[in-house]
């Protein structure tokens, strides 16, 4: 208990990252390396009628080309989210097994050459003819055939959520809110593209893969290729952003392994930015329709929340929209239904705040509308409806803190005294508005046993290991802190080793579970070593601690002492040297509580935003964001704040910038580049304030950690959309909100666009 947990420690991977010496997956130097380039299908539906690789094969430097004509067959592997801890293909379909095209961009050939430019050029020389058949690539095109699946999310979640009787609830309501919303598809676009390097040594395969879970990569490739996992080693330390794109294991990983086997050389594949839109899933295009019933004093009586979205031809994937939306408020009646349209896209996948970022947006915009209709302050309306128990089960929350989030967030933001009247503030050409929303994100206990190894040397330094990877969450820093704390040694005396599937098992950090599950295993490993040595000391007649109660011994700076008596004790080193021990070691493991644990499991927060809308042109700029979150125990406030801030700015981006648009004629994304798919630049990002509210949690592992990965995003877009309404008096029911949605609803048309024109308070 060195107190190092909770310190704002700077990232230990900082020096490597700021000097450019941190090696990412595409940066491993290998002798004889060849480069791969995928050829994607030009059409969204049909068959390949001919494929001619002769010209490409003759091109300079080409080492080999795989198509469906010579690609080995792989096993069928079911889709299961990677947080489960097993094989986790992003889609059940595997390309190049036959001549059928299911979606545009589907890999139809993979070209390997000596040089990168040679591979890129040769890929353009592969001649492919298609018999194109009609495709469905939008909800509108497939709406007539929409269906209600039994399960969604890789079979993990039911498609329906119900409690109470919504009809009774609506009958008891004094007021109804009925709000439909449309959401464009989103693509994660981490700046490091998905990149795989495959090296065979006999029947042993080594993969360097840009992923969120090296174990998932190992198990998935093993399952697809019918190899023992023991033959596959995945080495990945640094990952250049993921956001869900790298949570599942996409076909290109295994294709790279097969290509390397085919050309008998190490092969690297780095997806070009354009292929990032058709290779690693996306947040599906969706519509949500919410109806709220409430009494005149603002008590919710019923929520009906329906979603329709488009999935692939092979998988019933929808991100679950009603986890948090069904749990935030004590509403007696709730009905949530997912409906799906099968279309010619790849299987959608996790995207930051999966499901909840969109579902909570819908709920929280509707709540804002309800507050407006009732003339109740938006925070007050929420306070009248929040609940100390999970309304779906009646179980108490494992920890809460939502009231404090509202209170501290509102104070930090300056919410008090807000004029609720829309269009009530104008500065020059800018209409100013403020908005807020509740945030929540589930804690999911789907993972299997987590393990870590702690190894303490007699000089008091330690190596702590687990098979995780660093994709920017700060896990390598935080786990060093957790290990140092558990061992009772200094931060500098711990080396945290990760990024290798040969290390003890850690699950894929997805769904904000990374800090919770990995810290639990690391803590248990570290404290197991500590406890071994304390046990040895108290039983050692030569130790000053001889005969002490082990529970009364504390360790700091590598020295074991009696609690409250720092003078009585000795160092690990002296004890170990006396016993001629060169080291001590333990495996720590952690299993999550059962899925039916009698607790409500959410992380809570509150979001606030101030926006400026150009009164004539409808341009929206976010001026300030405040988020207050209660993520359990905060292991490192510096990295936690950064992750929450990043999530909040993702929410801004979700609200105002991000949308992938389908050209239905050939079923291709029409804006598949970072020039056309807009993500925020520095100038878009306002100053962001993050309030951390620590709540004690005794359910979520030994350290009481919840999570910070997604909750920063949840509710942020709603706070912004609500602020846009407050600024303009108009509710846009589509994301991203754009100029064209607002233009007809601004105070002044061309005839009265003068700066300083009187706002028209309608």
């Amino acid at each position: 208990m060195s107190g190092v947990i909770g310190q704002a420690v700077s990232r230990i991977d900082g020096p490597a990252k700021v000097t450019g010496s941190a090696h990412y997956s595409g940066e491993i130097a290998l002798p004889g390396l060849a480069y791969a380039e995928i050829v994607g299908a030009r059409v969204a539906s049909g068959r390949i009628t001919s494929i001619d690789t002769a010209q490409a094969e003759d091109a300079e430097g080409v080492a080999g080309i795989l198509t469906h004509l010579n690609m080995p067959k792989v096993n069928n592997v079911p889709l299961l989210p990677s947080l489960i801890g097993g094989p986790a293909p992003g889609e059940t379909f595997f390309p190049m097994q036959d001549d059928v095209v299911h979606y545009a961009g589907q890999p139809v050939a993979i070209v390997v050459a000596d040089g990168l430019e040679q591979a890129q050029h040769a890929a353009t020389l592969v001649q492919i003819s298609y018999a194109e058949t009609p495709s469905i690539t939008t909800i509108d095109q497939g709406r007539a055939d929409a269906y209600e699946p039994e399960k969604i999310f890789g079979g993990l979640m039911p498609a329906q959520t119900r409690r109470g009787n919504v009809e009774d609830g609506f009958a008891a309501a004094d007021l109804l809110i009925d709000a439909p919303f449309r959401f464009a598809a989103n693509h994660h676009n981490p700046i490091e593209a998905l990149t795989t390097t495959a090296v065979w040594d006999g029947d042993q395969l080594t993969l360097y893969d840009s992923c969120q879970g090296i174990k998932a990569v190992q198990l998935t490739v093993a399952a697809l290729l019918g190899l023992s996992p023991s033959k596959i080693r995945v080495l990945t330390r640094y990952v250049g952003g993921a956001f869900g794109a790298k949570a599942m294991v996409w076909p290109h990983v295994t294709l790279t392994a097969l290509a390397a086997q085919y050309v008998r050389r190490p092969v690297r594949l780095a997806l070009p930015r354009g292929q990032m839109f058709t290779s690693c899933g996306h947040r599906e295009e969706q519509e949500q329709h919410i109806e709220l019933g409430a009494t005149s004093d603002g008590k919710l009586t019923a929520i009906r929340h329906h979603k329709i979205s488009i999935t692939s031809p092979f998988d019933d994937w929808a991100e679950p929209a009603f986890g948090v939306a069904s749990q935030l408020y004590a509403c007696p009646g709730f009905e949530g239904v997912h409906r799906l349209v099968r279309g010619n896209t790849m299987t959608p996948t996790f995207t930051r705040g999966p499901g909840e970022a969109v579902g909570v947006f819908t709920l929280e915009c509707a709540m804002d509308e309800l507050a407006s209709e009732l003339g109740i302050d938006p925070i007050e309306l929420r306070l009248r409806n929040i609940t100390d128990v999970d309304p779906n089960t009646g179980h108490p929350w494992s920890s809460y803190g939502l009231r404090e989030c509202f209170e501290r967030g509102a104070r930090r933001f300056g919410w008090a005294g807000r004029n609720p009247q829309p269009r009530s503030e104008r500065h020059g050409n800018w209409l100013i508005g403020t908005g807020m929303a509740t945030a929540g994100y589930p804690i999911a206990f789907f993972m299997h046993t987590q393990r870590a190894r702690a190894h303490l040397y007699a000089d008091g330094t330690a190596i702590v290991q687990t098979a995780t990877q660093e994709f920017g969450t700060g896990t390598s820093t935080v786990m060093t802190q957790v290990a140092a704390d558990g061992l009772g040694i200094g931060l500098r005396d711990v080396r945290f080793e990760f990024g290798d599937t040969d290390l003890p098992n850690a699950g894929s950090p997805v769904g904000s579970n990374g800090a919770m599950m990995v810290s639990a295993a690391v803590h248990n490993a570290a404290t197991a070593v500590r406890d071994q040595l304390i046990t040895l000391a108290v039983s050692d007649s030569q130790s000053p601690l001889h005969g002490a109660d082990p529970a009364g011994v504390v360790v700091a700076g590598g020295r074991m002492t009696l609690a409250g008596d720092a003078n009585t004790g000795e160092t690990y080193s002296s004890l170990m040297q006396r016993h001629i021990m060169s080291d001590a070691e333990a495996i720590g493991s952690w299993d999550p509580p059962p899925l039916d644990t009698p607790h409500g499991l959410l992380t809570f927060g509150a979001q606030f935003a101030r926006v400026a809308v150009d009164a004539d042109l409808g341009i929206i700029r976010v001026r300030h964001m405040v988020g207050a979150f209660a993520p359990g125990r905060v292991l490192n406030p510096k990295t936690a704040r950064s992750q929450l801030m990043g999530g909040m700015l993702w929410g801004m981006s979700q609200a105002l910038l991000e949308g992938t648009h389908m050209d239905t004629r050939h079923g291709r994304w029409a804006n598949a580049s970072l020039g056309d798919y807009l993500v925020p630049v520095n100038a878009d990002a306002p100053d962001v304030d993050v309030e951390l509210i620590e709540v004690e949690d005794h359910v979520t592992g030994p350290l009481g950690v919840k999570g910070v990965g997604e909750i920063g995003q949840v509710g942020a877009a709603a706070a912004i959309a609500n602020a846009v309404y407050h600024a303009t008096g108009y509710r846009v029911r589509e994301l991203p909100i754009a100029v064209e949605h607002l233009l007809a609803h601004l105070p002044s048309g061309p005839a009265s666009a003068a700066a300083g024109a009187q706002p028209d308070l309608t």
């Binding site: 700077s10 990232r11 991977d13 900082g14 020096p15 490597a16 990252k17 700021v18 000097t19 450019g20 010496s21 941190a22 090696h23 990412y24 595409g26 940066e27 300079e60 040089g115 990168l116 430019e117 676009n189 981490p190 700046i191 490091e192 593209a193 640094y238 990952v239 250049g240 952003g241 956001f243 780095a270 070009p272 930015r273 994709f471 920017g472 969450t473 700060g474 510096k638 990295t639 704040r641 950064s642 992750q643 801030m645 990043g646 700015l649 993702w650 981006s653 580049s673 970072l674 020039g675 993500v679 925020p680 630049v681 520095n682 100038a683 878009d684 990002a685 306002p686 100053d687 962001v688």
Partner: protein, 171 residues
Amino acid sequence: MDGEIAALPAERGPSAQAVTLTINGEPRPLRIEPRVSLLDALREHLGLTGSKKGCDQGTCGACTVWVDGRRALACLTLAVTCEGHEVTTIEGLSAGGELHPMQAAFIDKDAFQCGYCTPGQIMSAVALLDEGHAADDGQIREWMSGNICRCAAYPNIRAAIRAVRDAAGGE
């Protein structure tokens, strides 16, 4: 310099050619095809992987390096056109193992998460101060907008730049 340029062969390629680049003050001979970008020359031929490839089409800024002291995108620069010019990459920023103040400030202010855009951000940020475009946050925001950070560490990037600016006595 004109004489040097004139001494080069008039027409080269398409096969690999002998080219000597000056990277971080050192002459670096290599054989590359004329179509090889400066970014791929650095990453794939010289093992200098600090400059990152994010989009390969001038829309993200992860490959920002300096050419003759000015920030430029290595992905949109053909390596052969850099002969006779000084290229500086993140590997050449800090002398003798000491972090450049901007690198230290990025760590101190937690101005990155995944770290992939970070070398480009830092090369831009140092150039920004040299250019005199960091007078206030408005300037920093605009003049740093050519470097996308998908983790959205932007407010912390601004904080790091302010810290280095202010430590240097402001502008």
